[in-house]
């Protein structure tokens, strides 16, 4: 019964309904919205948030929170650009170093949380400051040009294949596979659902948390590199404040901040909702002052659609 299954799927992925409503509304309001180019633009604009949000999904599934993703993204990109230009490293080595930076930040977060017993909010808030500060220190506050080879990551192949979208989709699949099909992924759900039960079932909770935050850091590094590639320049101030967007994408996508729930697909939809919304507001030329109001109202409505529908079915 494919129809029944797809109905059930929709019921579980209510954010999709909100996205569809939003897309239909914008298509009616703006004739420019529903063009292939514009939709690809939306995809590109969603990419960085989505990649950050995939990383945050791991964390939120375990019941944690990662406020440092934006800063870690900036630090990773600055690391890449700095080692490749000032440091004279070949770019593949710089890329590896950049990913390692992201992972290292994640591991520090996890160590503080798992061994230092810090609340995730505090540990990652500290890292938010530390990573941003280091990015500023390394770059001396000025943007650094990205190596030519890497910044192709921001390009569009042919007319219709923006690489950021490709990277986003690949990272999404990776996140989905990790969450659904691997041992650490399933253990994340168990920890988020009932940490004590997970521990008593023999899951090494601390170790899984290390994996979780390391993944979040790695995804942040990828997001940072994609962002810097789009701009051809790594900026110390890049992705500031993106952590709230990333968390919002995950929560709009159906996850709960108390843990145990969340899916990569939902997160993707959440990130698309945010990107579609911002794109639409630009197309409709909503005034700067009103934009924030409209974004707020639409986010609330989008999630409201979801919760009300879910209540209807229950």
């Amino acid at each position: 019964m494919p129809s029944k299954r797809s109905a059930a799927w929709l019921a579980e992925n209510g954010a999709v309904a909100a996205l569809v409503v939003l897309v239909v509304a914008l298509s009616l309001l703006s004739s420019d919205f529903l063009s292939l180019t514009n939709l690809l633009n939306v995809g590109v604009q969603a990419a960085v948030t989505a990649i950050l949000a995939f990383g945050s999904t791991f964390v939120i599934v375990t019941g944690g929170i990662d406020l440092s993703v934006g800063s870690v993204a900036a630090l990773s990109a600055i690391t890449l650009a700095w080692t490749a230009t000032e440091g004279g490293l070949p770019w593949p080595a710089a890329v590896v170093l950049s990913l390692a930076t992201g992972v290292a930040c994640g591991l520090v977060n996890a160590a503080l949380i798992a061994y230092g017993k810090l609340p995730p909010f505090i540990a990652t808030l500290a890292m938010l400051g530390i990573a941003r500060g280091l990015a500023l220190v390394i770059s001396q506050g000025s943007p650094i040009a990205m190596p030519e080879a890497v910044s192709h990551l921001g390009d569009t192949v042919g007319r219709f294949l923006p690489i950021p979208v490709l990277v986003m989709l690949v990272m999404g699949v990776v996140a989905a596979v990790i969450l659904n099909r691997t041992y650490p992924g399933r253990a994340m759900y168990a920890i988020g659902g009932n940490e004590e039960a997970a521990r008593l079932s023999g899951i090494k909770v601390s170790r899984i948390k290390l994996v979780t935050y390391a993944l979040s850091g790695a995804f942040a590094a990828v997001a940072g590199v994609v962002l810097a590639s789009r701009l051809a320049s790594a900026q110390p101030q890049a992705a500031a404040g993106y952590e709230l967007d990333a968390i919002a994408a995950v929560v709009i996508g159906g996850a709960s901040l108390s843990g145990g729930k969340g899916r990569a697909l939902g997160t993707l939809v959440g990130a698309l909702i945010l990107a579609v919304l911002r794109n639409g507001l630009n197309l409709l030329s909503v005034s700067a002052f009103w934009q924030q109001v409209v974004i707020g109202v639409v986010i609330a409505l989008a999630v409201l659609v979801d919760t009300l529908r879910r209540r209807g079915t229950n």
Binding site: S30, D32, F33, S35, T37, N38, N41, V44, Q45, V48, L136, Q140, G141, S142, P143, L227, R230, L231, A232, S233, Q235, P236, Q237, A238, A239, A240, R278, N279, L281, N282, L283, L284, S285, S287, A288, F289, Q291, Q292
Partner: protein, 285 residues
């Protein structure tokens, strides 16, 4: 030494998350080193109240003079009052302070700069066509003043139509995204005014090969990357504010007032339009 030996000066910069202010600081630091003064720089992170806090803290540290780069001209008054209470002279730099008097204001005029930007953009657009504005963070004084100057300036060109004004928060990535989106609804724009160079550089990425050819982008600040883009021809012009010079003048004044000398109430560091023709003269400053 230039007579400022060991003199302690505090400087609160509105934000260091922007290359423009980093240069402002660098100019000030260089001058302080030259004069042998000790400069302590704090970053108010664009938060007016944090700036008041920093000025208060300077007074506890017995600074001999304070250089204030206000986050907001109106909200800076209490900071100045705090310093005056303990007789520490204040030099305002880049932005003025409304409501109370400071020893000297070293500034270049954002409103005038906005006007210049309008004139230069109009000139390069052939005084006709559609233009869009990329606005800075709503509610900040830089965005307000530059925007106002631009609107006033562009009125003189009836054949130029400003078809969209959208915020991109002074951020390069947002400049890229917002410009991309605007190109969907306004594919025929031939002019872009960005309220800082960072957004302008983002817009240039969005425009791709059209930047500097069909579409003229004018930025603001004259940051090194902005000037490079001007040289390359992708950025049509930037309103160069000579931030290093601002910083330099401010330190000069601070050292003077700290030694009890009198200084002029205001020093204007001119804003200049940097275009491909004259860009060379800015790169050293």
């Amino acid at each position: 030494g230039g007579g400022g030996d060991g003199l302690e000066i505090g400087m609160s910069v509105s934000t260091l998350n922007n290359p423009y202010f980093v240069q402002l600081r660098d100019g000030a630091q260089a001058q302080a080193d030259k004069l042998g003064a000790t400069l302590t720089v704090t970053d108010a992170q664009n938060d007016a109240s944090q700036q008041v806090n920093q000025v208060q803290n300077f007074t506890s540290q017995n600074m001999k003079a304070i250089i204030l780069n206000p986050v907001d001209s109106d909200a800076a008054a209490p900071a100045v009052t705090a310093a005056e209470r303990v007789d520490v002279p204040v030099i305002a730099v880049d932005r003025g302070v409304n409501g109370v008097e400071v020893a000297q204001t070293v500034a270049s005029d954002n409103v005038a700069g906005g006007k210049l930007a309008a004139q230069e953009l109009a000139r390069q657009m052939g005084e006709q066509g559609q233009a869009v504005v990329l606005q800075g963070t709503p509610g900040t004084s830089a965005s307000r003043d530059r925007g106002r100057g631009f609107e006033e300036g562009i009125k003189a060109f009836p054949n130029i139509q400003v078809v969209a004004r959208q915020p991109a928060d002074f951020d390069r990535a947002k400049g890229l995204d917002v410009m991309t989106n605007l190109l969907q609804s306004h594919p025929d724009v031939t002019g872009v005014f960005a309220e800082n160079d960072e957004m302008a550089l983002g817009a240039i990425r969005a425009l791709g090969s059209r930047a500097g050819k069909e579409v003229k982008v004018v930025g603001f600040d004259g940051t090194p990357h902005g000037l490079t883009a001007v040289k390359d021809g992708t950025l049509a012009a930037t309103i160069a504010q000579q931030p290093k010079l601002l910083g330099q003048r401010a330190v000069e004044a601070a050292v003077k007032v700290a030694r009890g000398e009198t200084v002029e109430k205001s020093v204007a560091v001119p804003v200049k339009v940097a275009t491909q023709q004259n860009v060379a003269e800015f790169e050293t400053s």
